[in-house]
């Protein structure tokens, strides 16, 4: 069996005509040299032109399919020998090859005829529509003009759309083709131009950067800052009204004296504070003509008494002399004494008396007091607003916290979903645990959402 291998001849079998089989030679290596491709020109005795159809002619049976032809020639009762099977198999396989190739060839030919016919039909249809072309082109021109304007104004996305336009509307005629070619080249030019001329658009970034401080989420730092402000404003006491300083006349007098003294004694540098000589001088000045500021009652009394030439004032004056420095305070006490006396005597009713204004009350003090009241009011307002803000911020923080949790749960949900989709793709059944996880995630989501929505609004960001 092994010696009867007929495969030497197989190389000739697969040629187009099968007529160029080389004689079998035992010396040839077991493997065949490459067989000829069907359709190639065959070297050999025959001069028949090559046949495009791959098949093995019956008349070549003896040469190309010897085993097969031998068996087929035998009557049915003569059995096939087992040893012939190898050769027979190879021959049958080669037959099968050629048949398969023939089938492909025929199918290809039928397809090409079909496509030719359909092309011819299309051409016929196209030829019948010659009259419509001029109109079509006008439309196209309009479209060209319009879209050209658009592309100048806007960006790239319009350009490919336009390209589709022109491609879709092109027919089979050459005129349309040339039109389209021009249009397309214009398009590409415009595309390039727009790419070069568009500067980098920074404005959105600028805008959002500027708005960022207003839209950023509230942080703990912000709350701390607010609280510090609140502490500041509640802690600051208003600056105390300084006690009425020495009257400017006195101060100037002193300064004057010191200047004189300094001028007189340039070497002696007088320490601050008054020298005894200065004080005695001052006394004299005071005595000379200084009018004391007195309250209204005192003034009325004095004027009344002055008319009577009764001088009770010097007594009081003497009193006052003992305490020069506190003369203004004394005027107040004088006023108070007078009042008390008058009321006790029943001369004046307390309500008739003008309100006891400190004679030393002057406009500046009044102004200071007015400012102080204003300041306290503002401070109160500030505190109230700050407290309000802090409250809002704290609420916002709670909201943000909840939102963070919600984001996490969202991610969990998405992951679970992806897992489920992957499981479905792999056709793996979804485990109970996965389902439970999914439900847990979704319920958590719903709960957090409800909570967030239940919170009171804290500003434009709340949604």
């Amino acid at each position: 069996m092994l010696g009867k291998r007929m495969h030497h001849n197989s190389k000739g079998r697969l040629a187009s005509k099968g007529h160029d089989s080389k004689p079998s030679s035992p010396g040839v290596s077991p493997y065949n040299k490459p067989a000829k491709i069907p359709g190639a020109v065959s070297i050999g005795k025959t001069k028949v032109e090559t046949c495009p159809i791959p098949y093995i002619r019956l008349q070549d049976n003896a040469t190309t399919l010897p085993r097969l032809s031998a068996i087929s020639a035998r009557p049915a009762d003569e059995p096939i020998g087992i040893d012939e099977l190898d050769a027979l198999q190879l021959e049958l396989e080669s037959l099968l090859c050629s048949t398969a190739l023939r089938i492909r060839y025929f199918q290809g030919e039928i397809e090409s005829i079909d496509t030719n016919e359909s092309k011819r039909e299309k051409k016929g249809k196209a030829a019948g529509k010659q009259l419509q072309y001029p109109v079509k082109r006008k439309f196209q021109d309009d479209k060209l003009v319009k879209t050209k304007d658009y592309t100048k104004l806007s960006n790239q996305p319009k350009v490919p759309k336009f390209k589709n336009f022109s491609n879709a509307s092109s027919g089979g005629s050459h005129n349309n083709y040339s039109n389209d070619a021009n249009a397309n080249s214009d398009n590409s030019m415009k595309l390039e131009l727009s790419q070069f001329s568009l500067p980098k658009n920074n404005i959105p970034y600028k805008f959002w950067n500027s708005v960022e401080p207003y839209c950023a989420p509230v942080t703990l730092d912000d709350i701390k800052f607010l609280e510090s402000l609140l502490a500041q404003s509640s802690n600051t006491t208003l600056p105390p009204i300084p006690p009425l300083g020495r009257h400017y006349s006195e101060v100037w007098a002193d300064e004057h004296i010191t200047e004189d003294q300094n001028a007189g004694n340039p070497n002696k540098i007088r320490p601050t504070g008054m020298s005894p000589e200065a004080t005695s001088l001052r006394k004299k000045i005071e005595k000379s003509g200084e009018n004391m500021i007195t309250g209204p009652l005192t003034q009325r009394l004095v004027s009344a008494l002055m008319e009577e030439n009764a001088y009770e004032v010097p007594d009081i004056k003497v009193k006052q002399q003992s305490n020069i420095k506190s003369s203004y305070k004394n005027s107040l006490t004088l006023e108070k004494c007078l009042r008390k006396e008058l009321v006790d005597q029943g001369i004046l009713d307390p309500e008739d008396l003008p309100p006891l204004t400190n004679p030393a009350d002057d406009e500046i003090l009044a102004e200071i007091k007015k400012c102080q009241t204003e300041l306290t009011a503002i401070r109160k307002d500030n505190c109230k607003n700050l407290k309000n803000l802090i409250g809002l911020c704290k609420q916002e923080m709670i909201r943000l916290n909840l939102k963070k949790q919600l984001d996490q749960v969202d991610l969990e949900c998405i992951e679970t979903y992806k897992k489920m989709v992957a499981a479905k793709q792999k056709k793996r059944p979804i485990t109970k645990k996965e389902k439970e996880d999914a439900w847990k995630a979704i319920n958590e989501q719903i709960r957090l959402n409800k909570e967030i929505n239940a919170l009171p609004l804290t500003g434009p960001n709340t949604s």
């Binding site: 077991p30 087929s72 037959l95 048949t99």
Partner: protein, 295 residues
């Protein structure tokens, strides 16, 4: 099921008779096909010789006529193909029966000792008579046809030829040509016999160390995708040996019976590769895990 010699012989005879009948049918079909082909050739000649009106060859009527002839030829060819396939299937069945007999005889204890020369001839004939897969139009080649790998869950049957990675000495491993004895599902391992020196070397190897050889050849004209491309790194059986070594495909087979031309990796040559060697389709398999050593 136990296949005694008599039962086997009887089955074979049945099939041989059926085969004979098919062969008669084939000849008849071929005759019919040839008639169709002659008609087509005549029509084609007529079309070519007639003056062409448009760009397309021949008038519409001629085209229709030609188309009808093609269709007739197609049906005849398909009919012929069907009968040929039936005949071939009978041959394959006969081979399977014989193989089955051989395996059973071996199990029973008949040890065939084959000389080296005879072994090589046997390998050669096995490669050449490996069933050829001729694909129908649009049909994809099945697994283990030519270069196409086995399916993921494929289990080689007893008697199938495989390449097995066995430990030859302490640190050397070789891919050898072996025959499957059995599959051990509990361990997930194959029992294989070295094709050379049967029964002496029986190995139990895991699935990873066993690569099934293709069960069918591929025809380069109908199923090109089932062949290794040029330049592909493969494992090929070194001629006159029973071991697989790394090689590079140099030339594809030009016909179904043609072998590959491969270049074996060989450090003793200047460029690292041996001169081209011819290896049958059956003995060219894909590289597994980069293992395999050159001589």
């Amino acid at each position: 099921m136990p296949l005694t010699a008599d039962v086997a012989a009887q089955q074979v005879q049945e099939r041989l008779r059926a085969l004979h009948r098919y062969i008669y049918d084939i000849e008849a079909e071929r005759g019919r096909s040839e008639q169709c082909i002659d008609q087509i050739l005549r029509a084609e000649k007529a079309v070519e010789s007639s003056p062409s009106n448009d760009e397309s060859s021949g008038s519409s009527q001629q085209q229709m006529q030609l188309k009808n002839l093609y269709k007739a030829g197609l049906t005849a060819a398909e009919q012929e193909e069907r009968v040929i396939r039936l005949a071939l299937s009978k041959i394959y069945e006969i081979r399977a029966i014989k193989n089955e007999r051989r395996i059973q005889a071996r199990h029973a204890g008949n040890k065939e000792t084959i000389g080296c020369g005879a072994l090589m001839k046997m390998l050669l004939s096995a490669a050449q008579t490996l069933p050829l897969h001729v694909g129908r139009v649009g049909e994809r080649a099945p697994a283990l046809c030519g270069a196409l790998p086995a399916d993921a869950g494929h289990v080689a049957r007893p008697g199938d030829a495989v390449a097995a990675l066995v430990r030859v000495s302490d640190k050397e491993e070789n891919w050898i040509l072996a025959e499957v004895v059995s599959w051990l599902p509990a361990q997930g391992k194959y029992e294989v016999d070295d094709i050379d020196e049967e029964q002496k070397n029986r190995h139990v190897l895991s699935k990873r160390r066993v690569v099934p050889l293709p069960l069918m050849r591929a025809d380069p004209r109908t199923d090109e995708q089932a062949l290794f491309p040029k330049g592909a790194v493969v494992m090929a059986l070194y001629p006159q040996t029973t071991c697989f070594y790394r090689a590079v495909v140099n030339r594809l087979p030009t016909s179904a019976a043609d072998p590959y031309e491969v270049l074996f990796e060989d450090s003793s040559y200047a460029d690292g590769y041996s001169p081209p060697e011819r290896v049958a389709q059956r003995y060219v398999i894909a590289i597994k895990e980069g293992k395999g050593r050159s001589t």
